[in-house]
């Protein structure tokens, strides 16, 4: 039985070697998605700082702007960009983020060469939207019929920016969609400047800060309102 298995394994290795020795088709161009820094001097440079050689036959789009999202096809054999698509609508299976472009495709003088791909940075489509849930407990003397509002630095703290949903007697909640990584500053009011929140000692509240992560939940507390002793 063992002899039979060994013979079968050998045959399989031989077959693999025969296949490997046959002429392999050229790999398809690598689709890379990123943000455009510049196209100049025969190179396309991503905002990661990585430059890739352009195929001399490639026609450069006239309306390629700084910071625009692009999908490029890089031929692995020639290490050149053979196609440029501006403002692609969505990521496709197989797309490689410009942050993770293989280093052998990047052109640079030895002194300018990075040893590895960028671990993080600007992505091709910018930050994806995430939903953050903000929960707040209010003082017991909050009038039962009053609404509570979220005010953020997006509107320079307009006091009635987003009406929150009452959860129970003392708790309100709202969900806010933000680009991932957004730093949001916020505070609470009951709808106008006369009834904004105050800190524990009656002073002006320093707005809270959060960094948007998917599924992030805050649990904040309003110490007192400006108009209620």
């Amino acid at each position: 039985m063992r002899i039979f298995l060994a013979a079968a394994l050998f045959a399989s290795v031989i077959a693999s070697a025969s296949l490997a020795s046959a002429e392999t088709p050229a790999p398809p161009p690598l689709p890379v998605v990123g943000q455009l820094l510049t196209i100049s001097g025969g190179y396309l440079v991503f905002t990661t700082g990585d430059a890739v050689k352009l195929d001399p036959a490639l026609k450069i789009p006239a309306n390629a702007y700084l910071g625009e999202a692009v999908r490029v096809l890089i031929d692995g054999n020639s290490r050149t960009v053979v196609a440029i698509e501006l403002a692609p609508r969505k990521l496709l299976p197989g797309d490689v983020d410009a942050n993770k472009i293989p280093r052998d495709l990047v052109r640079a003088t030895p002194g300018s060469t990075r040893s590895s791909a960028v671990a993080e940075g600007a992505a091709g489509f910018g930050a994806h939207p995430v939903t953050v849930t903000i929960n707040v407990s209010v003082p017991d003397n909050t009038p039962a019929t009053d609404d509570v509002y979220l005010a953020t630095d997006r509107t320079n703290f307009a006091p009635a920016e987003i009406k929150m949903i009452r959860v129970d007697a003392r708790t309100f909640t709202t969900a806010v969609q933000l680009p991932a990584g957004t730093e949001l500053r916020y505070d609470f009011s009951r709808g106008n400047f006369a009834n904004i929140e105050r800190d524990r000692l009656g002073g002006i509240v320093t707005p809270r800060a959060l960094k948007a992560l998917d599924g992030l939940q805050t649990h904040d507390t309003v110490r007192q309102w400006a108009d209620i002793n």
């Binding site: 001097g41 940075g121 990584g181």
Partner: protein, 510 residues
């Protein structure tokens, strides 16, 4: 900064960007940057320039195809593509004459993706005060989704200072137009529209001292002639003072002023306030606890108030002293069968006047809540309130309880006469029952809410008092990356001879 086209973009993270295209020139002290395109982040004071970049500082200069600069440190990175291979150069402390070759750190050239965003303002010239403001001359200002309007100049403030306080009266439309500003002050013109004043203009002046103090003055010089002043100052931790006042001039001259000083300690709060309205004025001192929580048992707050009112022409007393107390106690939230959360609150207030009059208010509120799942939740509230006006003089009751004389009864909208004080024993009763149903798919931003409220008050009849039943449908929907809309529709049912009285409410936010 000059360019063939400059766009000011407001980003969803609160930052603002200047995006210049076409022969961009940025002058910053002794430094001049020329490029085909340039993106300046006004929040982080960093910029990225590309295309025929030339940076000059004094007699020295550097050229390249891309350039990233931190304006605070003067450190920069340059990419050159004119050699046999791309090279990256480091510039330290703005020393453009001594750049050294080195790999750029991660994120050195990172910039926001504007991805089809519409600029908030457009211009060809921008004068930037770092960390304070930028003045665009001329400036094209957008009109909603429509075309841009050319204005000679527009000042956009991005200082971290909070200039959001206002002294202008509430108007249904308010388009601010910043005129002048520094890091701590801002002068703004306003185009206003209100149901009472119609279209008018206003101006306000903000002075802000960090989180310690602010003063905002405003004037409506044309219609609705009015001057306002709101000020707040934290004198020291726990001690604050504030002033709010308005003066309406012209045909209907009115004055109102309020001053308040408040001392808050870890366990108590003392407030002195003084009001003046026309020829009437009053002052009061309140001494109270802050909100005390006894874990797993009760939360309470109690305060006593002593006040003085001067009411010229008031019968029988022009000067009236009063003393009262205003207290409440609440239960913690407890969980009942079926996962229903319940809590209760009782509020009690009594005020005794020198004038033979006593007002007592007692309110009981019970709240029941139930989250069925992540998307569906219910909230029910029952509120019972009694307000008792005790006059020790029946004539005073008739005169002061704001009730109709039997000789001149009120008539409801449908013509039914109100029975008058004979049906009134001095106690008003307010009963409110409400149910809120919320549907938020997966707890996200979009939501549908239905509110139903039933009121059963005394007095309440034939259009007098709140409608017995009303329903509100509230829909929140995100329509785009920077547009969230909330629309609410309210119906009253069969009150005052009318049915289905509609009311709209629309709110737009980023």
């Amino acid at each position: 900064m000059r360019a063939g086209s400059i766009g000011l973009f407001l980003m969803s993270d609160g930052s603002s960007l200047l995006d210049g295209h076409g022969s961009v020139v940025l002058r910053d002290g002794p430094r001049t940057i020329e490029a085909d395109a340039l993106r300046l982040n006004l929040k982080t004071n960093t910029l990225v320039a590309t295309g025929n970049v030339r940076v000059t500082r004094g007699a020295e200069h550097i050229a390249g195809d891309a350039y990233a600069l931190d304006l605070k440190s003067g450190d920069a990175h340059v990419i050159r593509l004119d050699g046999s291979l791309p090279e990256t150069l480091d510039v330290r402390n703005d020393d453009v004459g001594h750049a050294t070759e080195a790999a750029a750190p991660p994120g050195a050239f990172a910039i926001a993706n504007l991805g089809g965003l519409r600029p908030f303002l457009r211009s060809r010239h921008a004068l930037i005060k770092p960390n304070v403001n930028v003045r665009l001359t001329p400036a094209d200002v957008p009109t909603g989704p429509g075309p841009y309007i050319r204005t000679p100049s527009y000042l956009y403030t991005f200082a971290p200072t909070n200039f959001s306080q206002t002294a202008l009266p509430y108007e249904s439309f308010d388009q601010p137009y910043p005129l002048f500003g520094t890091a701590n002050s801002l002068t703004t013109g306003h185009l206003l529209y209100g149901s009472s004043t119609g279209a008018t203009i206003g101006f306000d002046q903000h002075l802000v001292d960090g989180n310690r103090a602010y003063a905002v003055a405003s004037i409506l010089p044309l219609r609705g002639k009015e001057i306002n002043l709101n000020a707040f100052e934290q004198l020291e931790p726990g001690l604050t003072q504030s002033f709010n006042g308005y003066h309406i001039y012209g045909a209907n001259t009115t004055n109102y002023d309020q001053y308040q000083v408040q001392w808050t300690s870890p366990s108590s709060r003392t407030t002195f306030s003084a009001y003046q309205f026309g020829t009437s004025n009053s002052a009061q001192l309140s001494l109270g606890s802050i909100e005390h929580r006894i874990p797993h048992f009760l939360t309470y707050r109690a305060q006593i108030i002593y006040g003085y009112d001067h009411l010229p022409g008031q019968f029988p007393y022009t000067n009236d002293f009063r003393i009262g107390t205003d207290d409440y106690v609440t239960t913690p939230k407890i969980v009942l069968p079926l996962g229903v959360g319940a809590s209760a609150k009782y509020e009690y207030a009594i005020t005794e006047y020198d004038f033979p009059h006593e007002v007592t208010t007692g309110t009981t509120t019970v709240t029941l809540s139930r989250a069925v799942n992540r998307s569906l939740s219910f909230l029910g509230t029952i509120s019972l309130q009694q307000v008792a006006n005790h006059y020790r003089d029946p004539e005073a009751l008739a005169l002061n309880a704001d009730l109709p004389s039997p000789a001149f009864p009120y008539y409801a909208p449908d013509g039914t006469p109100y029975p008058g004080i004979f049906a009134y024993a001095g106690v008003n009763t307010y009963r409110t029952y409400s149910l809120q149903t919320t549907w938020r798919p997966r707890g996200g931003e979009d939501a549908i809410q239905v509110y139903y409220t039933h009121t059963d008050d005394f007095p309440q009849f034939h259009g007098y008092g709140p409608p017995p039943n009303y329903v509100t449908l509230d829909v929140t929907e995100r329509l785009g990356a920077t547009l969230r809309v909330e629309v609410a529709r309210t119906y009253d049912f069969g009150w005052g001879g009318t049915y289905f009285v509609p009311g709209w409410s629309i709110s737009i936010s980023p």
